[in-house]
């Protein structure tokens, strides 16, 4: 957990502008909270969606492979049933089940990776103690910057945030 200053902006343009300027001034940006996804902001703050993509690919292909194996094993080895003289290993119809179930499991693996990457479910996060936190899901664009070490610097940073257009600044823990 780290102490931050949470600044609320009216719109995304002011938030993005503030992040750019604060970065130039070497202020450490901890996170931002927005009512809708702001294009490019998450990537700029270092979010990495690779685990989600990898999980979906591995989950989907792995499941599809397993399904195909079950089909082949059951139809050709375990229960070779003659249906209209069709070959036991009827590969042209085998892709249907692996595709359907593979896509489903890609989604399920992706969801698991999404939850793991974002630390959810997390019903009791300290962010919710901040009064401004409820506005992030509604109408305010919040910026969390690392709390400076000294009180004097903290005051200067608050003034700076207000100068950049923040209409409210609050101390919080993240």
């Amino acid at each position: 957990m780290s102490s931050v200053l949470l600044a609320a902006f009216e719109d995304e343009e002011r938030l993005v502008d503030a992040i750019g300027k604060l970065r130039e001034e070497r202020v450490r940006i901890v996170d931002a909270f927005t009512p809708y996804p702001v294009e490019g902001l998450g990537a700029a703050l270092g979010a990495n969606p690779f685990p989600v993509r990898a999980a979906m690919l591995i989950g989907g292909l792995g499941t599809a492979g397993l399904c195909w194996f079950i089909e082949w094993f059951s139809a050709a080895i375990a229960f070779p049933f003659d249906s209209g003289s069709r070959p036991h290993n009827s590969w042209p119809v085998f892709p249907l089940f692996p595709f359907e179930f593979g896509v489903l499991m890609a989604g399920v693996f992706g969801l698991a990776a999404l939850l793991w990457s974002t630390g959810l479910p997390g019903l009791n996060h300290p962010f919710f103690d901040a009064r401004l936190s409820a506005r992030a899901s509604q109408d305010k664009f919040l910026l969390a910057v690392a709390m400076p070490e000294t009180t004097d610097m903290a005051f200067r940073l608050r003034d700076r945030l207000a100068g950049l257009g923040a209409d409210t600044v609050e101390e919080a823990e993240l």
Partner: protein
């Protein structure tokens, strides 16, 4: 630790932050909080639900009828349906194809419009996705009801059993089972993922502890972090990219149920793509009706606008024209093949016992929709809703006629026999409509019918234009 150090605004209670005063309708939504108020307002207060209760009572009665009929069916067996030894498929299969088509359309609409950056989807995608869940769930019940021994439906899944039996992978029934199961679960995941940020909004706007806990638990602690949004969007878009081929494959498999046979009128390569277009067609029709109902019932005129209906009318016009072309291709292929059985089947379609229904189907699916060439019709809500209902009647007729026409007109004349529906056929059909309405009303009562976070983004996009 949390302390407000400058200029903090106290958070106003839910439903009173912005927008129109109580009792007035918002005619223009131009702020983020107006969107929040408009969509979440009805969910968080106890007023405005009189119409809902009236609809709920009707839907509940039909739902009781549906499950009552189902219980009687399980007790008595499928002899209560109009199926006979020749027309072995009847209403449950037609209902199944119709419902799964409507279900497919929901995800198709949502995912395709997302992938093609159609931002207007924000107002209708949630309605369409929820429609998918309910329609696919109902569709999944239909083949089970049609089974002679429904208690053994799980034999379709590969599981260790003392009989050492395995599923028959070359059977269309197995393809259906996996297609429906996978699609239903996938749709639930897709729908719920899209809902998470909106549940967080409801959590933060709820004023009663019960609602805060309910929405808070379902929101999983979503914090609207920019990092989370980035990962979330990657996942959501990938799901949309996966959903599109999944939907096409699911309804293609339904088409293969027929096309993989050797029957006249069924054994056609056009079936899979024409089933997919038909699904989108009937699905858009139902989405139009649901949008009109939600718009009226929840005062969402400023979010679901005539412009949305006009765009949906254009898509239906395109789909209806493709359907017409598909029918014409079928007719031409049957005639051009020169096979006696196919030509007899074609003649039976236009002049046989079910010909009046066939002509009504052509009227509903191909002719009526041509009215959408006229802008005045596309901008008339009443006209669009009536046409959408007619399209769905036409699409249901198409499903039942695919079954009836082929099965009642076999290769040999000694196997020509007609199907006469019974009361139970009708009760199951109308009961399923009631059950759909029941589920939908529950959804509308507890979850936002419009994607709040996507509309917020849309409002911002419009504002900076």
């Amino acid at each position: 630790m949390s302390a407000i150090v400058s200029g903090a605004e106290p958070l106003p209670p839910a439903g009173e932050t912005a927008g129109a005063p109580q009792g007035e309708r918002l005619t223009h939504v131009d702020t983020l909080d107006a969107v929040n108020t408009l969509v979440s307002g009805p969910l968080l207060d106890r007023r405005r639900w009189r119409r809902w209760w009236i609809a709920m009572i009707v839907a509940s009665l039909l739902t009781i009828l549906f499950f009552g009929s189902m219980i009687y069916l399980f007790y008595e067996g499928i002899g209560i349906f109009g199926n006979n030894s020749i027309v072995v498929w009847g209403y449950p299969i037609a209902n199944y194809v119709w419902w799964i088509g409507i279900g497919n359309a929901g995800t198709l609409i949502s995912s395709m419009l997302l992938l093609t950056h159609q931002h207007w989807r924000a107002a209708i995608n949630r309605l369409a996705e929820a429609m998918t869940l309910m329609a696919v769930a109902i569709a999944g019940l239909m083949p089970i009801m049609h089974m002679g021994r429904p208690l053994y439906f799980y034999w379709l899944a590969p599981y260790p059993n003392t009989m050492a039996l395995w599923p028959q992978w070359r059977s269309a029934l197995i393809w259906d089972f996996w297609a429906i199961l996978s699609y239903l679960l996938f749709s639930i995941v897709f729908w719920y993922t899209g809902l998470i940020p909106d549940l967080a909004t409801l959590r933060d706007r709820a004023i009663t502890p019960g609602k805060r806990i309910f929405y808070g638990a379902l929101a999983l602690g979503w914090r609207n972090s920019a990092r989370h949004w980035h990962i979330y969007q990657t996942y959501y878009r990938t799901m949309a990219a996966l959903a599109t081929p999944l939907v096409c494959s699911v309804h293609s498999i339904v088409g293969l149920d027929f096309a993989a046979s050797l029957m006249p009128g069924w054994q056609e390569t056009i079936f899979p793509p024409y089933f997919v277009v038909g699904a989108m067609y009937s699905g858009f029709g139902i989405v139009v009706v649901l949008c009109a109902a939600a718009r009226w019932g929840l005062d969402l005129e400023s979010l679901i606008t005539i412009r949305h209906f006009e765009l949906m009318a254009k898509v239906m016009l395109m789909a209806g024209t493709v359907m017409f072309l598909s029918y014409a291709t079928e007719w031409f292929s049957a005639w051009y093949s020169g096979r006696g059985v196919d030509r007899r089947f074609l003649t039976f379609e236009f002049t046989g016992a079910y010909a009046p229904l066939y002509w009504i189907m052509i009227f509903c699916n191909c002719i009526v929709v041509q009215a959408f060439w006229f802008r005045t019709v596309r901008r008339s809500l009443t006209a669009i809703v009536i046409i959408s209902i007619l399209i769905n009647i036409g699409m249901w007729l198409e499903r039942i006629l695919i079954v009836w026409n082929t099965l009642s007109h076999h290769y040999i004349a000694s196997m020509w026999r007609l199907f006469y529906p019974t009361l139970w056929d009708w009760l199951i059909l109308f009961g399923s409509l009631g059950f759909f309405a029941f589920l939908y009303l529950l959804f509308a009562r507890f979850f936002p019918v419009v994607s709040i976070h996507e509309v917020r983004e849309l409002v911002h996009r419009e504002a900076i234009r």
